[in-house]
Amino acid sequence: MVARVFVTLKPGVLDPAGKAVEQGLHSLGFEEVSGVRLGKYLEFKLAETDPAKARSRVEQMCRKLLANTVVENYRVELE
């Protein structure tokens, strides 16, 4: 099983890097862009075949290490 984890900044948390990307897009002429938020993407294999168990384990990983829930949200996809 493969896990894909998306870690994103919570709304309202300042994202200086996202702002830099947004400015870069504007300077390239993509003026329609606003609200860029930069996040993290992680992908890894899991030696687990039960989707419910896998999800519960990956969510534990997110809460303990992969995301800082003070400022970040996470989303898990399993395949």
Partner: protein
């Protein structure tokens, strides 16, 4: 008073702290490797600045799970005095020993310069040698010192007088100009500025020495 300085791979301010507490202030001092499981009877534990474990994932996120951190957390929970400077502060927030998180500087730039701070609470182990409202000059050197806490947490922190140091010239975008905070029990303090780099006249300021002298005064 015995000081223990925790060294992670990537820590780079342990000698600065050692110099101040041992050579300048004459205290017995030991280095504690991050894989140790013994604080060797340290009465004060310091997490110094640097880039522990390369600051991968998030600053302090990996260091927070180094083996010694079990001992450090247990020490803090028993009321032991624990000071996190710069990267050490980031590790303390990741370990949830202090509230909030340290984000990338609003300017996106690494700032390395002298800043001015105001002492907001002198009733702590780390500030009792200071005068209320005293202004300090202490250098910062960080890319992720932008203190964030949600509105509710901030209100509580301020209400409880737990903002110990506040920037007079905010270098990083920290909410409420926060430079240093203490935990509810009053034994764990984290701050982004480096008192270890401002404890001798040769370095341009001796104000940082007051943090260590406060600890000694509390003994």
């Amino acid at each position: 008073m015995k000081f223990g300085i925790v060294v992670f791979p990537g820590t780079n301010c342990e000698q600065d702290v050692y110099h101040v507490v041992h050579r300048v202030l004459g205290q017995p001092t030991v280095f504690l490797w991050h894989k140790d499981r013994d604080l060797r009877n340290s009465e004060v534990v310091i997490l110094p600045g640097g880039f522990a474990h390369g600051d991968y994932l998030r600053c302090g996120a990996i260091a927070r799970f180094s083996p010694i951190m079990d001992e450090v957390i247990a020490f803090a929970q028993k009321g032991g005095k624990l000071l996190g400077i710069c990267n050490g502060f980031q590790i303390l927030t990741e370990a949830r020993l202090l509230p909030g998180a340290l984000l990338q500087n609003a300017s996106r730039k690494y700032v390395c310069r002298q800043v001015r701070l105001r002492v907001e609470n002198t009733n702590t182990f780390y500030s009792r040698a200071m005068k209320p409202g005293q202004e300090l000059e202490i250098p910062v050197g960080h890319g992720e010192g932008n203190y964030f806490l949600d509105d509710e947490g901030l209100k509580r922190l301020e209400g409880e007088g737990r903002v110990v140091f506040r920037y007079l010239d905010n270098p990083n975008g920290s909410r409420n100009d926060i430079a240093g905070v203490i935990n509810e029990r009053g034994n764990v303090l984290g701050l982004m500025p480096h008192p270890d780099r401002s404890a001798e006249p040769l370095l341009g300021s001796v104000d940082g020495r007051l943090v260590f002298e406060s600890l000694l005064a509390a003994a």
